[in-house]
Amino acid sequence: MDRLYTLLQNRIEGVVSTPDQYHAGLLSNFGNLFHATPRLVVSPLTARDVAATVTFAREHGLTVSTRGAAHSQSRVAISDGGILLSMSSMRRILSVDASAPSVDVEAGVVWRDLVRHLAPRNLAPPVLTNNLSVTVGGTLAIAGIGVSSFKYGTQGDNVRELEVVAGTGERLVCDRKKHADLFWGSLAGLGQAGIITRARLDLRATKPMTRTYYLLYRDLRGFLHDAKLAMERGRWDHLESWASPSPQGTKPVAGRRQVFARWFYPFHLTVEFDPGHPPDDEELLRGLDPFERLYVDDLPTVDFFERMIPVFDLWKQGGTWKHIHAWIETVLPWEHAVDCIESVLPDLPPSILVGGHVLLWPARGTTSKVPFFMRPPGEDLIGFGVLPAIPARFWERARPMLENLSRMTELMGGKRYLSGYLDWTEDRWKNHFGDQWGPFTALKHKYDPHSILNPGFVPFPAAPADVRRVPGESVPAAD
């Protein structure tokens, strides 16, 4: 038995596991690309457990990696020889305040559970991710975007207060005024300064029903024109779109025949409404010019929020959920959207999207105030996500194509969404964060001076020696 097991178990209420005890699924994440074996897995019950674990790690020279639903695809939510904090054990919905609508939740709460908990009160978080089976702490640490982000920004923009355990082991409650640097730095902060253990989230009143208009566009420019119009009008509650391939046979690509596709652009526009007061379809759709209006769907709002669950279930049943996921999601500046998307899609084999899809999401730059959620300057933005599921034997063939895709989106001024696949050098991290790289590094050095938290992802420069000391440590005498 690992001697540290008993020592740590004696300090916390939660459960400590050793490699012979924990589930093998903890060795990787949704990406299935990076694998690592933690020395210990901790399932904490309280923020005090988390703080005790971080302190313990520092005392014993270990690192601490955090794991929610592990939907990330890079060197995140796994640990190579350190402690893996499996936050799913902290999943209590603590309290709902319906008067100034907000909810207090532990970081391991899954958004789907929260949505169902709130639905009877016609309340919901302003922004929900497409995949609801991810945790509050996990998505806040990345940013959290969804089909209403064009109105409300990221999930991080809708947080009132956080409780965070810093890399020093301190438990800190922070908000926009108190420890504001840690508050903002924990949102889209990749868990580098601290571990979110509790969040107070804004809520909004929802209407019980939704109506979704399924429009289809046959050219990208037409879709973008209408997407911009839809954002500007302010009548829509949710906007969602894709690029969808229609295979057309094969063509030579460097001498080898490859299936190619004509791409179409489905655009789903949704409004919420009260039963008995359905929306005026013609009024809502006036000015939009799709190739075809395909379908109009009325759903209870909670079912709309959960609309992707049957799709994900299909992917699971089809076996593609276990494939490699190397998703490349980028927020693009509007002016380069056509160039970028039209240079990528013709070369994208439709088969790469079995068990995946190509997302397009219209967005507005000013809706987010989260400093470490990097996006291009400007008001109109478009998210572009190539989300493939790749059988392992095809990975080496797909990798250069996906890496080129990422580099090309960056070259065109795009900013990657960081839950996907990336394996960057320091230069690319600096380029991603731009003028926020300095503040991000300073935050890391301030709150995690010993680089205990979530190593292996962001290559920070080492903290200066005087910063690495923590309160209570003796200062070496000068020579």
Partner: protein, 141 residues
């Protein structure tokens, strides 16, 4: 019978190869419309070649209107230039490196609008394939 790289005979064979390629004709059908689509390929010294070779392809709308080795590293008619050491070109022709990867990682230097160039990645990949399938005798180290 292999044709010696760097000769006018080789350039002519390449021009014919490009114009016979339906892959290039389709992928490059709007290349050079409204902009100068001529590309100078600079095979810079390295590996088997001690002196640079500079190939100018006059490309417009899926056709090659002329191919010639030119004496200097630049040409007044060029709209774009792609510059890389000869060994990297060989890696690209042998399929060990994607041309797009070489451009995006900065190993191949681009003169001209990189975004325009990358928009037509399929056309340029087809050009590379045309070169790769020519029966060529490259200089040996």
């Amino acid at each position: 019978m292999p044709v010696l790289f760097g000769t006018s005979e080789w350039a002519h064979a390449l021009e014919e190869g490009i114009n016979a390629s339906s892959e290039y004709r389709n992928a490059g059908q709007s290349w050079g419309t409204g902009f100068n689509g001529n590309i100078l390929f600079a095979f810079e010294p390295g590996g088997a070649i001690a002196r640079g070779s500079y190939l100018l392809l006059r490309l417009q709308e899926g056709r090659c209107l002329g191919a010639e080795f030119v004496p200097g590293p630049t040409h007044p008619d060029q709209g774009f230039a792609l510059r890389a050491p000869f060994p990297l070109w060989l890696d690209i022709l042998n399929g060990k490196t994607l041309a797009a990867s070489a451009i995006l990682t900065g190993k191949m230097r681009v003169e001209g609008n990189t975004i325009t160039l990358l928009k037509y990645a399929g056309a340029h990949r087809s050009l590379v394939h045309c070169v790769a399938t020519l029966d060529t005798r490259f200089p040996e180290a």
